[in-house]
Symmetry: C2
Subunit: 418 residues, 2 copies
């Protein structure tokens, strides 16, 4: 098998399909999404049976229970896939929106209109439901997509791709608009990353290892999400009861996700009243505390934080705690150890809240709310394809709009340059 | 000299300066720009004297007259530099603009606000006036910048950098906000392209060779402008007198630039009335014609176009001419050979004008106007740092707004996720 040739042929087909998707009507795209939902429901038993093959193979290979869990499709995950398709169909079409239009002194009417990016390469790990989610978002935004999922999910992804193709055909859209790359071999990823003639953008979703590999090897621009080292800064003028609720939520509501708090920063003037009950509550919730020197002075018998704790993304019930002299020290700490993801201040001081919002460089900066709100759905984008922690194109959660760009359209009446 | 260490130190200083620029007030930035203008005027004689060193060295090296011309600073180019600084100062500050704000069902108020990108690496060829233009645009948009100009312009760039630093200091802005990389060696570019820890974005400006080198070697996202293979399609329903003026302007007004027309596509139904006088006019204007078979049948004695003519960016008084059966053939030709830069249709047919605007994939698509209008000033952006022909972040001419991104700001009152 010559992977290079095979993937190039897929990429060419995607590029050709993108020409049709660019001008596809919303009704056609929504019809395809509805067909997908209908066919997934009708073929539920078959999907679950085929997915069981992947799960058995994964068990034999000794994958850990969390990975097996993410890989498994059951009634519930299939229902959520179907709901997702209907939700995306219900969202407005971003393509064709005129974001602005103005007249020039010479009479030229100049506007900017939203258009699809073209061909997206989406690279992700084991969850097969991502295949359907990503396909839906790319299609709705008028983009063709090449999907390179985890090799453990191959059988599941291929049956889903079959259903997707059928739905595209039914809606008179090009079948090759959405294609799962059917090779398990790791080199397939490298080949996809070199297809800059056909692919406009790469979106990787997965662990730090995957993201780094993609960034190192891609000739195509990458929208990447590195890591979430998120802080809550409890200011001296915080409502301490509010701070308690926000910190608890930010750490324990779902510790394994990127927008969970990893370090709590506390102003020295409230440390002695806020920290002892807060830390007791964390310990009761099963959180392991890594404390700075000053915190240890207040509450002995905690684990002493090492240098490696401040930049750590634990994704677990572990929390670093540091007492700071003032907001400047908190912001300096965030500038040094944060990952441009999500940062919260809890304060009732007006000036400080405004200053924190302005000075902190993160994709989402919040006042008096949990870090857990950095999420496309929670912020009102209607959907989410990922969170971009680099600043180009989109900074923060990306929805349908972020899968488009704008081109200039100009209405003239014979104008020439002089 | 350890270039790596030296450039890393500069990049670190730029990153540190970016923290201050992020929150710099418009008045401070405009004051610095005004100081620059004032000091350049005061030191005019000195600048011209130092620039003469570069010009002498370039002549000794045997650089061609066009390059010598671009390298030379005189009263006129210095005046245009000074005017440029005042123009940028007069433009509104893009930083801080709230592009949208909405309320979520739980009471969270979510907004998006324009913020600088951070640190920009700007890589360009011989014109020393670009040093001042790029510095002004980056500063106004709140970004720190590392400038790597052509080695032939080194003395000129360094004296300009001295003046710029003085102006920054005078306006109480960090002196290291704008730094010329003082190494002529080519490896300095490669080192800059690896500074992804400190530099957020690379903007190269120059020939295809430079752009390709940057894209191949950068670990940092690149806003790139490849080439301009621009077409004018003269439709069967065109006003032929308007078409004549537009085509002439698009080809001959300034043939050496990226938004000049390189291929003219003509509908077969108007070919016999439009082409003979048009081609005669082109020939009188010194344009060499490369004609398709059908054009040759109409007008013999022209040079026959080769396959290599259709994707060519001549940047010269040369024009490829092709007769097409209909608009579909014109659009297919543009899809195949165009460079996503600028495409024009001349027509009075309403439906065709709308269809051309929708179907053609280029950063600027025009109806009844010259391709030469793809330019930040002409389209009303107020300034231009370059034209992006890839789709990420900005598609088409980039002004101050395109040197920013948006972050989410969230005003809460104690909200947590459930």
């Amino acid at each position: 098998m010559d992977f290079n040739e095979a993937i190039q042929a897929m990429a060419k087909d995607a590029r050709e399909s993108a020409r049709f998707l660019r001008v596809a009507k919303r009704a056609e795209k929504d019809a395809a999404l509805a067909f997908m939902a209908e066919r997934i429901l009708a073929k539920k038993e078959e999907i679950i049976k085929i997915n069981a093959k992947d799960v058995t193979l994964a068990r034999e290979k000794g994958l850990n229970p969390a990975m097996i869990d993410r890989l498994t499709l059951d009634e519930k995950t299939i229902k959520s896939m179907i709901d997702g398709l209907h939700e995306v169909a219900a969202l407005p079409d971003p393509v064709g929106e005129v974001t602005g239009m103005w007249k020039r002194p010479n009479g030229l009417q100049v506007g900017q209109v939203r258009v699809p990016l073209g061909v997206i390469g989406f690279i992700y790990e084991s969850r097969p439901n991502v295949t359907v989610d990503a396909a839906a978002l790319c299609l709705k935004s008028g983009n063709a997509v090449l999907l390179k999922g985890g090799s453990e999910a191959m059988h599941s992804n291929l049956i889903l791709n079959e259903i997707i193709s059928e739905a595209l055909k039914n809606a008179n859209l090009p079948e090759k608009s959405i294609q799962v790359i059917p090779y398990k071999e790791h080199e397939a990823v490298g080949i996809l990353l070199g297809m800059d003639e056909y692919v406009d953008i790469i979106i990787p979703r997965g662990g730090e290892g995957l993201i780094s590999f993609v960034v190192e090897n891609s000739r195509i621009p990458v929208l990447k999400h590195f890591k979430g080292v998120c802080h809550v800064y409890v200011d001296e003028f915080a409502d301490l009861e509010m701070a308690r609720k926000i910190c608890l939520n930010a750490k324990v509501q779902r510790p394994g996700v990127c927008n969970a708090m990893e370090t709590m920063l506390v102003h020295k003037n409230v440390a002695s009243s806020f920290l002892p009950p807060m830390i007791e509550e964390f310990i009761r919730a099963g959180v392991e505390i890594r404390a700075c020197e000053n915190t240890l002075r207040l509450i002995p018998n905690l684990i002493r934080a090492k240098d490696s704790d401040w930049p750590a993304e634990y994704l677990d019930l572990i929390l670093a705690v540091k007492i700071v002299d003032d907001m400047n020290e908190a912001i300096d700490h965030i500038e040094r150890y944060g990952s441009n993801h999500t940062e919260t201040i809890v304060t009732n001081d007006y000036k400080k809240s405004q200053e924190f919002l302005e000075r902190v460089d993160a994709s989402v900066v919040l006042v008096n709310a949990s870090t857990r709100f950095n999420d496309g759905f929670e912020l009102g984008l209607g959907a989410e394809i990922g969170i971009n922690t680099s600043k180009l194109h989109a900074y923060g959660p990306m929805g349908l709009k972020e899968l488009t760009t704008t081109k200039f359209i100009v209405y003239g009446s014979g104008q020439v340059r002089t």
